[in-house]
């Protein structure tokens, strides 16, 4: 009898994203039972493991808007054999990147100091525990090598399933019409 194949280790994380890609991933519904026959989760919002371990596949949602995002991304790259940029934010910066032609200082002032309705003495948050904001929002491929991109906002559940099925079977993922979407 041939030995049972080792389960692939998969880690997922949301950087500057809205968790919509994770929600769409969960929308594969009962196929999760098939999936779990082939993979086990490492760091992920689904497991609450805090540090990423040695993994076969890393799925990254969201772009880079602060220093912590960059640190987590680098840890994923160092620990994952295959890194996948999932969704518009990870691939292009997405909606958060629409602030990129604006001045960050002016933005923070607008939001925390000069917006109508704020209480007197409002200040821009500066707690040392808050990650330092980047001047611009960046797609993840500007910092690390990305092996594959799974586009969409979010990618559909079928796109996730098709993509992961290809990847688990050792095929280069290919999304045809209806699965490749940028919106």
């Amino acid at each position: 009898m041939s030995p049972t194949p080792r389960k692939l280790k998969v880690a997922t994380v949301s950087l500057a994203g809205c968790f919509g890609c994770h929600m769409s991933f969960l929308d594969i519904d009962e196929r999760l039972f098939d999936l779990i026959e082939h993979i086990e989760f490492d760091r992920s919002p689904l497991t609450d493991i805090k540090q990423v371990g040695a993994c076969d596949i890393g799925l990254i949602e969201g772009g880079l808007c602060n220093a912590e995002n960059v640190q987590v991304l680098r840890e994923f790259r160092a620990h994952c054999k295959t890194l996948v940029a999932v969704g518009a934010c990870a691939i292009t910066g997405g909606l958060p990147a629409q602030r990129n032609h604006l001045d960050l200082g002016q933005l923070l002032t607008e939001v925390y100091r000069s917006r109508p309705g704020l209480s007197a003495g409002g200040a821009i948050p500066n707690d040392p525990e808050l990650p330092l904001l980047l001047n611009k929002v960046h797609p993840i491929r500007e910092v690390v090598h990305v092996d594959y991109s799974l586009p969409g906002c979010p990618p559909s559940a079928d796109a996730f399933w098709h993509f992961l099925s290809d990847l688990m079977a050792g095929r280069t993922p290919h999304l045809g019409h209806g699965l490749i979407h940028y919106d």
Partner: protein
């Protein structure tokens, strides 16, 4: 374009014989025959512009724009090949990073020729570093919004306004990286022109620059033109 096709004159497109009429370009002949050659700045109702180069094909081994190269008997044209499609994908990736193409927040998404062509070429990401240019929108017109963030400089609006509407409302100005779409009014604002929602130019934009106001999401995302069928299977000239 003419329907006067002489069956004795033909050229080869990806190995198939394609008849053409005198004076036709490769793209005109291919389109009339229902063959898809990817393109952005070309439209059957207007003169060829040859600027986007997405329709580049190999003609007897040399690369040329199918919208400008005249069809001729015996030409060997290669279009739908891995090499040409790879080059088209690279051109598309460059177009995407030069502007601000945030598809999830664009009401043209699903009806956008740039996006649909990128789907067709299997573009999963933009590959190059994003420019994130600063291009303020023009909302001065009561019925039409201009969002320059998505302009690919195809000049279809320029041609439509000049040739179909007789108004000459748009122009391309600047040089190199600074090339941009202009509005021909003293203020530079669309609200100070004679532009009308009935104009051909108001509906010709292949991307989401010229948008009629108050109609944004009439058709939900997922049910729009290129959501239903890939661009290669659509009829040329259908409204977007």
């Amino acid at each position: 374009m003419t329907d006067d096709v002489s069956p004795t004159q033909s050229f080869s497109l990806d190995g198939d014989d394609l008849p053409f009429a005198s004076g036709e370009t490769i793209l005109q002949a291919a389109t009339r025959a229902g063959r898809y050659i990817p393109h952005l700045c070309w439209h059957p109702d207007f003169a060829a512009h040859g600027s986007c180069r997405i329709c580049s094909v190999k003609v007897n081994g040399r690369v040329g724009a199918a919208c400008t190269v005249q069809a001729a008997a015996g030409l060997e044209v290669e279009s739908n090949t891995p090499e040409m499609n790879r080059q088209r994908k690279t051109l598309l990736q460059m177009l995407f990073v030069e502007g601000n193409h945030f598809c999830p927040s664009c009401e043209k998404s699903g009806n956008c020729l740039l996006q649909a062509t990128a789907y067709q070429m299997g573009m999963e990401g933009p590959h190059f570093e994003e420019f994130y240019p600063n291009r303020p929108v023009d909302a001065s017109h009561p019925d039409i919004l201009l969002d320059f963030n998505r302009c690919i400089l195809c000049e279809l609006c320029v041609r439509a306004s000049r040739e179909a509407d007789g108004k000459n409302i748009f122009a391309i100005g600047g040089h190199g990286m600074g090339t941009h779409l202009l509005v021909n009014s003293a203020s530079g604002q669309l609200g100070d022109t004679a532009m009308s929602l009935d104009d051909r130019a108001a509906h010709i934009c292949p991307v989401g620059v010229i948008l009629p106001k108050r109609r944004g999401f009439v058709i939900p995302i997922g049910q729009r033109r290129f959501d239903l069928k890939p661009v290669s299977q659509q009829r040329e000239g259908d409204a977007t």
